[in-house]
Amino acid sequence: MPREVPQHFTSERVHNDMAAVAVEFDAELMLRVRDGDAESFVLLLERHRGPVIHFLHRMVQNQGVAEELAQEVFLRVYRSRGSYEPTAKFTTWLFRIATHLALNSLRDRRGEKGHESLDDGQQEGVRLQVPDRQPSIEQQMLREVRLGEVRQAIAALPDKQRAAVLMHKYQDMEYSQIAGVLCCSESAVKSLLFRAYETLRARLAHMA
């Protein structure tokens, strides 16, 4: 009689196995890029283009700047192919580059324009949202207002807290991986996230 395996254990194990396969696949692709295989770079770009651009968009709140930064991220990945060693998870390395560029860009823009960018980003974000099936004008307006509030609340977070929240909420990253990206300990990440969510809960309490 076969031994019964708890459902959650099986699904968790499958999930972990799939994650491990994905990690190995990314590293394998990057090693092939290192050996001069251009097709593997195309595959890597296919897999990570979306997450990187969406993360950068939420970080800098400007789609044009986000895409420009994402270009730089992938350009750096391609440039570093010769020295790539699969010591860290590929996505950790990738998001470390992306976060570094985003934080630099935020610092530069803050120096140039002060806080004006928040309003600009809000307008752009509203314009870029894909409409769902024929919402009424009231629904659309309500959604835009809520989106604007969410964007402003996230934009008002300190840079590191913002990066941690975006990776945790929208990129579905583990604490260990976020710690790897932000070059800090897991407990520091938990602390960052706790403070950030606490602030967001207070700011968006009326939306509950």
């Binding site: 959650h8 939420r58 789609q63 969510y197 809960r201 939306m207």
Partner: protein, 168 residues
């Protein structure tokens, strides 16, 4: 936070459920965090420009073309011995270029104090002329060549084109 993200282990989730039955504070916290989690879902992914890949590949191609043969040469340079880390040649390039520039400058620079090979000569009228030695040598070589090509071909025959050395 993991509970709201759906990342909590099922066993821990059921323990938390049990705990929340008797803890209003935790219930409030979970409710607020779940509401926040759902509110953050309002921010959907924005569409990506269709030209993104093309722009990236064109930038990579441009960079590769810029590197060209010289870049490939640097790529194939040997690594630093006894070192596992790859040796970076790129920082050495500006230094090498600066050294090359300085060397070229030193070699091409002629200080004003160094005498040239011009020598003062007086002509028959007593006028002082500065004569370049190299020019004189070249002229003498030309005279010698014309002498050899002369139809008379006799030693001592005077070429019609030979200048009068007394006028020098």
């Amino acid at each position: 936070m993991n509970y709201c993200a759906g990342k909590l282990h099922p066993e821990t989730t059921s323990l938390l459920h049990e705990h929340m039955q008797s803890c209003p504070e935790c219930r409030r916290f979970v409710k607020a965090q779940t509401a926040l989690w759902n509110a953050l879902d309002a921010w959907q992914d924005a569409p990506i420009s269709p030209a993104f890949d093309r722009r990236l590949y064109s930038r990579i191609a441009g960079r590769e073309a810029q590197k060209g043969v010289f870049g490939r040469f640097w790529d194939r340079m040997p690594r630093a011995p006894f070192s596992s880390a790859p040796f970076r040649w790129q920082p050495a390039m500006p230094v090498a270029a600066a050294c090359l520039f300085l060397t070229a400058g030193v070699l091409l620079y002629v200080p004003a104090g160094i005498p040239t090979r011009e020598i003062p000569v007086e002509n028959s009228r007593g006028e002082s002329l500065a004569v370049d030695v190299e020019q004189v040598e070249r002229t003498l070589d030309d005279i010698e060549m014309l002498r050899q090509l002369s139809p008379a071909g006799q030693p001592g025959a005077k070429s019609a084109t030979a200048p009068d050395s007394r006028n020098l």
